[in-house]
Symmetry: C2
Subunit: 465 residues, 2 copies
């Protein structure tokens, strides 16, 4: 057959055993914590109807969505109509595919690859009404696809790891997702992270109290978000450059003060009903989290803005020193889940950034040593003894050991070398016949091999685990 | 926002918690066995270059492949050229997209969704040469996508569950994948299955010895495969209807005999070098499997044909009573893995039919009772006591219990009802204040609730696990 280029598509990766063992470990820790918090597993198809996805992620999202070609006659018809589209002056093929101005793409494609886990959750809530509990607590760990420009740590296929509570407005929900997320990270060995908490209504109250025009809210949020990096003067400059007048900018920076603690903000917003309520909700979450693992990591941060229009209540973000960006975040988004059911459905969630967590854990070598690797590699010295090696491997497997039988003859030195490369701690080679001996070598001990009677190999290895 | 149809795409399903817990259980059992056999995990991207996939699955496969729309200018150019294609007489859009006669689809699509796990494995072997051990033992459990007509138990998105050894011609490999597959099924509770074994060269030898023309081999295989169902006369009839002459048909059925045991076939093929070698290889696998869990289930079946040209050596298939089709199968395929590297790479594997395994286990109720469900549901009687309920939930979680805190007030009867629906065995409701009491109720016991001091709830529940 012809040779073809064997690389995976741009922006995607093969996950080889070494990486995958780490990934499985992290996912299992997270899954275990989520289950202990009473979250239920959910999985949705990788492909969704294009109409389910279109218009949900803004224009950029529609552009970055992978779309799946129609099949059969619909495709033939689609090509004809798409070509007409192109021939018309002003027709755009790669344009908006939303409801008001459909481009030609919907003519050619009827499905899209999952872009996140939130829109599918909203669809599930609508599709399975009556079958799900009125308060539905789910976790979902699945890949999503975005045709983004690939870069360092940015992929076109990556996992999201979401936990959400749908159907409750109680602050207990905020506390629960914060405690669960904190516990995941703590169990994985993170000790230095901050779980920043803020509230969208508090940000809005600050902006209103500073008398910044509502249409400048996003600009103001972007500027506030930079306080940590650019300082107070920098924020004022940013506000000014975004068309906010000097008085409003000055008022906003005064409201925030030198160190915007919750009590200071509370004082400033005492007369703003929405602001006061937001403060009360943050306090409620903080009080609930007292005594949980989240207490140690949670801190109020009046400058946390967390993206654009999506959130309606408390917002969270996890940061670690020396890493730009976050390890995850979330918040309350009461307007989104009802998009398919047409009902008002409150919701609050937390998304852990699995890929980033893996990057940091890799850099800081935070994985346990064994990590699901085989306990022992087994091979015969002579090809003829392969059946005997297989029988030994089966016996060891019967004892619960993970055994990597190499199906060919090995010189002891070569087998040791292989085991070292694969980080397998023990090696057994055997020679049947006159001597009938199994020889055993373990990494990290003195390089002397020891002969062990066949029937004692399992006991010996178990004692060393 | 506008209401859209909330169903997932045709042929796909949302996996709700109840189903997913079963699925996770089965996958974990399989994964554990595979790891004990020294197989390493591998995952590949859901999307592959179209050129990687095209022409690998025959014309039907190319038709059933989901293809991903090109993006940006390449798509615009593609539509123009595809429209020209359509305008030309005889141009086919939905046609072969292989190398010799490209249709218009490659103009519109550059990626395809993974169609199986074998072509990606072959690509990985070529892409990561030098980074993988010379004998690579991997398992891979991931979904694949096929635009097949959906039907009962046939989906457009379904999981494959493959284990393969690449780089060895030893029969130990056949024994190892058969033992691993048998152990997976045995651990899942299957006791009645048969692991049928045959050999492609043995089938070829039978066909040659019966003097059936080589170009009729596929026809002969299809007919032989039906012996179980249609009997000896039926097979002769099938052979005749497929253009095989009466003498050859008679010779073939005579070679098979009444009950084609391996020793009988051995006798018949004594003078056929390829046939005799095939018999020897089957015997070697049987001998290796003696003493393993596979011994109980393995039986030679001269009529097992297992699909078309793919396999080159031993072939296997697992069947259970009362289920049409198989629970899995595999074999040696020495010509396939080298397709991207241009080298000869021997390989042998076993694919477990995860979806079918789940169907049978569902029908026969083969799952353990608890299956990762929450240990206990907790709720307050009064909304005000939610914080106290949260604190109790956190305490129980700290003790390792899986706790489903309901974030709203529940009447005890309603909470019991919820727990019954969700198959949660225990329920705790609490009322703080004057009484400060937690009340506990367990399914299956007498319906009397008992009051338990808050600090003893964890102990009580643990004692009941």
């Amino acid at each position: 057959m012809a040779k073809a280029k064997p690389q995976p598509p741009k922006g995607t990766r093969d996950r080889l055993p070494e990486e995958l063992r780490k990934r499985h470990y992290v996912v299992e820790v997270i899954r275990e914590v989520f289950q202990r918090y009473g979250f239920e597993p959910l999985e949705t198809p990788a492909i969704e109807r294009l109409e389910t996805l279109s218009g949900k992620y803004g224009e950029e999202g529609d552009q970055l969505m992978f779309k799946v070609l129609r099949r059969g006659q619909p495709l033939v018809d689609g090509v004809r109509r798409a070509a007409q589209h192109l021939a018309e002056p002003g027709a755009v093929l790669e344009g908006r595919s939303g409801e008001t101005a459909p481009g030609a793409e919907p003519l050619l494609a009827d499905l899209g690859l999952r872009y996140d886990l939130t829109v599918p959750l909203a669809r599930v809530i609508a599709a399975h009404q009556g079958k799900l509990p009125t308060v539905f607590k789910r976790y979902q760990i699945q890949p999503v696809w975005r045709a983004d420009t690939p870069g360092r740590g940015r992929f076109r296929e990556f996992y999201q790891c979401d936990v959400d509570v749908v159907g409750s407005t109680s602050e207990v929900v905020e506390a629960e997702v914060c405690a669960a997320a904190s516990e995941c990270l703590d169990r994985l060995g993170f000790r230095e992270f901050a779980l920043r908490i803020n509230h969208r209504a508090l940000l809005r109250a600050l902006i209103e109290t500073a008398r910044i025009a509502p249409e400048r809210e996003t600009d103001a949020l972007v500027a506030i978000d930079k306080l940590d990096k650019v300082g107070r003067d920098g924020v004022v400059q940013e506000l000014r450059s975004r068309g906010i007048d000097a008085d409003s900018a000055a008022r906003l920076i005064t409201l925030l003060g030198e160190d915007p603690s919750l009590s200071r903000i509370h004082e400033q917003l005492r007369d703003h009903a929405g602001g006061a309520q937001a403060v009360a909700q943050i306090e409620a979450v903080q009080q609930l989290c007292a005594g949980t693992i989240a207490e140690k990591y949670m801190r109020f941060d009046a400058t946390l803005a967390r993206g654009l229009g999506y959130y309606t209540g408390c917002i969270f973000e996890v940061t670690v020193p020396d890493l730009a960006g976050s390890l995850g975040g979330g918040g309350r988004y009461d307007g989104l889940i009802g998009m398919f059911s047409g009902k008002d459905v409150p919701a609050c969630g937390f998304s852990l950034g699995l890929e980033r967590i893996l990057v940091v854990m890799d850099e800081q070598n935070m994985y346990p040593e064994t990590l699901g690797r085989p306990d022992v590699a087994v091979a015969p010295i002579k090809e003829n003894d392969l059946p005997a090696a297989f029988r030994l491997a089966q016996r060891l497997r019967g004892e619960g050991l993970k055994v990597d039988l190499r199906p060919k003859a090995f010189k002891p030195g070569k087998l040791r070398q292989y085991a070292e490369q694969q980080a397998i701690s023990s090696v057994v080679w055997l020679e049947v016949g006159a001597t009938d001996k199994a020889s055993l070598w373990r990494q990290g001990e003195d390089a002397t091999e020891r002969d062990v009677p066949l029937e004692l190999v399992a006991d010996y290895l178990r004692s060393k685990r």
